[in-house]
Structure formats: C-alpha cells, structure tokens
Subunit: 229 residues, 2 copies
Amino acid sequence: MDTKILIVDDETLLVKGLKYSLEQDGYNIDTAYNGNEAIEKTNNQKYNLIILDLMLPGIDGLEVCQKVREKSQVPIIMLTAKGEDINKILGLEYGADDYLTKPFNILELKARIKAILRRANTQSTKIGEQVIQIDNFKINTLGRKVTVDTKEVNLTAKEFDLLLLLASNPGKVYTREQLLEKIWGYEYFGDLRTVDVHIRRLREKIEKDSSQAEYILTKWGVGYYFRKK
Amino acid sequence: MDTKILIVDDETLLVKGLKYSLEQDGYNIDTAYNGNEAIEKTNNQKYNLIILDLMLPGIDGLEVCQKVREKSQVPIIMLTAKGEDINKILGLEYGADDYLTKPFNILELKARIKAILRRANTQSTKIGEQVIQIDNFKINTLGRKVTVDTKEVNLTAKEFDLLLLLASNPGKVYTREQLLEKIWGYEYFGDLRTVDVHIRRLREKIEKDSSQAEYILTKWGVGYYFRKK
DNA sequence: TAAAATTTTAAAGGGTTTTTTAAAAAAGTG
DNA sequence: CACTTTTTTAAAAAACCCTTTAAAATTTTA
C-alpha cells in the first residue's frame, strides 16, 4: 500500500535526511520548504500524513495547519521547538494530531507515524446501527455477518462493505465510481468492472436466483442499488 | 454509551478548549469553574470521570477530591503544576487516580482518560461477572484463570486480556487496531502482527486443534472474534 | 431488427492477508 | 546480576480473496 507523506520544513538538510530515511521504510515522500509550497501541494495532491514544522519562513506552520484543516482531515504531526504552547497546537484552533519537539529522535517520529496512520485507517469504520433488518435480511455490523432467511451467509470483507453501504440506503443508486470511492477508497485506481464482479458474487450468495435479483438491483447505465421496501 | 465527564478548572479558556475537544471524541462534558460549583455538581449528578485542577479559587482541588471521595469512587484525574507532591495527591489521603502536570498534551490527557475509563469499566464487569462460562470454557476474571474441559490452562497476562476481551463479546469482530488499542493501550507504537502471534499462542493453549480453531475465529481481512454460542 | 452499449458470467493468475516458525528483545524473578 | 518467562519482531509458507480479462447475454439506440 502506497503511503504518501508530505514533509514541510525549511531546513534543507533535515528534510533530505528525513526523506531518505522514510523512503527506506517504504513511504512515498514529497517535500515542501515553505508554507506556500506546502499549501499548494496539499491542494493538488492527497497525502496520508503531513509532517509540518512550526517555524516556517513566510506563512508559518500553524497557518498551514489551519489552511489544510479547512479542507481535509489528513493527520498532521507538528515539529516544534521546546517551550511552544503544545495545547494550542493540538487544540481545536489548529488541530494537529501529534507533535514532536526538536531535536527529535527519528525512531520516535517513525513510531508516531505508524501509530497515527494506524489510527487514521480504522476511524473510517463508522459505528452506526448495529443491526440492519430488511425483510428476511439481517445485517449484523458488529459481527459482520449476514443472515438471509435464518441462514447465515459468509461474506468476504469487500462483499460485506458493499452490501452494508447499499442496504444502508435502500433505493439510492450508486454509480460504480461512487462505490469504488466509498469502499475501495479515493486513492484506488482499479477497473470499474471490479465492482460488477463483486456485485455478482454478492448476488450469488444472498439472492435466491442470482440472475433474478430481488435485493441488489441494477440501474441500467447508472449503477446499483438496494431494493427499497 | 454515554460517558459523562466533569471538568473543574478556573481557566476559562482551557476549560472551553478541553470541552470542545473532548466533545469531538463523543464525551458528554460538564464544567465547573471553582470548588464549590464542582462539589455541588457532583452531588446532583453522576459522572464517569472528573478532571480536576489542583489550584482552584476558594476550595482547592485536593479538598474537592476528598469531598467527592467521601461519597463515590468516580475516577479522578488531577491537573497539577510541576513540582507538586504527586505521591500525596495519588495517595490514600486524596485518592486521585491519575495526574497530569500542566501544561499537558491533550493527546496524553485523552489517552489517560481512555485508560482510566477502561479500568473503571473492566472493574465493574468484574464485580458483575466474575466468571464467564461458555461451553467448556470457564474464565475466572478474579483469579485470571481459564479452565478448558476441567483442565486448567495457564495464560500469560496478554493472552488472558485478549481472551477476556474477545470472550466478553462473543460474535463481535475486533480489528487488530482495536485490540491493540484496548489491550496494549492507546500509545502503543508496535506492530499489528503482534496481535496475530498472541492469537496463535492462545489458540495453541485453548483450542483442541490450533489450526482448526473453534473458539477464537478469524474474520478474513478484518480481525478476530470469539465464537458466538 | 441490427448494431452499439452495457451488464453478466466464468475462470485464472496475482496479490494480499494470515498462519506458522524461529529468534531477538524485554520484563520479571530470585 | 543471571536466569527464566513473556513479548515482540521478522520472514517464509500457506490460505484466501481480489482483480483482470474476455466472452456471452441483455438492454438500448438507430
């Protein structure tokens, strides 16, 4: 999995060192040497994480942080000097996710990167209704199980996510693009046909007759939807 | 689950910031700006946690702490200035559960809140349910012992915690991230694979055939869960 | 009705995730 | 401090799922 990290700092040497070291760990690193460049890059690119120095020439780190936050919830690690007001940085006003005081230990930075990315990845699984019931269908979101007519059906992760999304909004038609984005993630560049195949497997598992679907229906030329009522 | 937290501090700005930030995390926040107000509120309301500044105008934090303790075992986190006598605060006399020196990192506060609530929650389930029995399984939460088919099995600390968590919610699928967070703690920077290895050892100890697990099951692409029924 | 566009179906290779194993590191104990 | 136990890390092997591809079937358009 490709993880893109933007490093923003005006200390060229530090940036280069960090870049090299993090690339060794398999991260995809982009760099910016001042606030304007950082903001520009974040506008044109999606990152999984931003490492942001507080003291920058021109637009400072806090401002960059704010600007980024206006548009996205990307995790941000702040690099600060000792004695800065940490509460302010991490607090509501700026909303960084973590910070490190310079000079920092690169191992610690790496540990924090790991932890933050891990957290970011799990928060997408929202905790909503625990059981969705539609007719003979029962979707148990905690156990990730589906029961059709008392019979328990085993779905793979993608199949389950797909069904859950569709069934959460009966009647709403999703295009393949939307499904890819919601379930595979916005960074996914795969084929649209992939969705079809998953839909087919789902149908095979939960429909009585998979070629006469009753629940997961096709909107010709548009996409798929779950039967309403 | 609605978790009510009372924040007691005379620094209006800090209180407001904390309130906002913790509300973002889904906590239900109440505030008090001096000792009297705090005592009054705790008399009329039950809280799951109290965050209490040591230095308060009028009745100070320690006194508030004592007064609260007379009536309840609600967890208390103390906010102190550097150099305070920590032992005294945490000791029997006052009985706070944890403390943080100002200025503190809000992430750290959040981590401690989580940890304390977790402790409080597991202690209450202990009282309610000292033995969990599922089929041939008996989990003795007080003695931290597990019996499988009359045979007593020796589990290490982590193994036991893992089993207890999973078995307390049969059927609920936990991701590795969730397990790390719940058992290893919020600030853990280690590897996700650690969970797998512990699961494997657990299986070896409690399953008849560890490669044909009957109790601790894998949800492919998601995580692990304890068999339901 | 034929052609074009879109969806369904089927199958296989490729890739990811999990399991297993082993050894290193850390923590606990006397 | 040395020994034992537990926990973590690492990497190979196995299990499983996903994606791709392409042909068949269906629906729409002309």
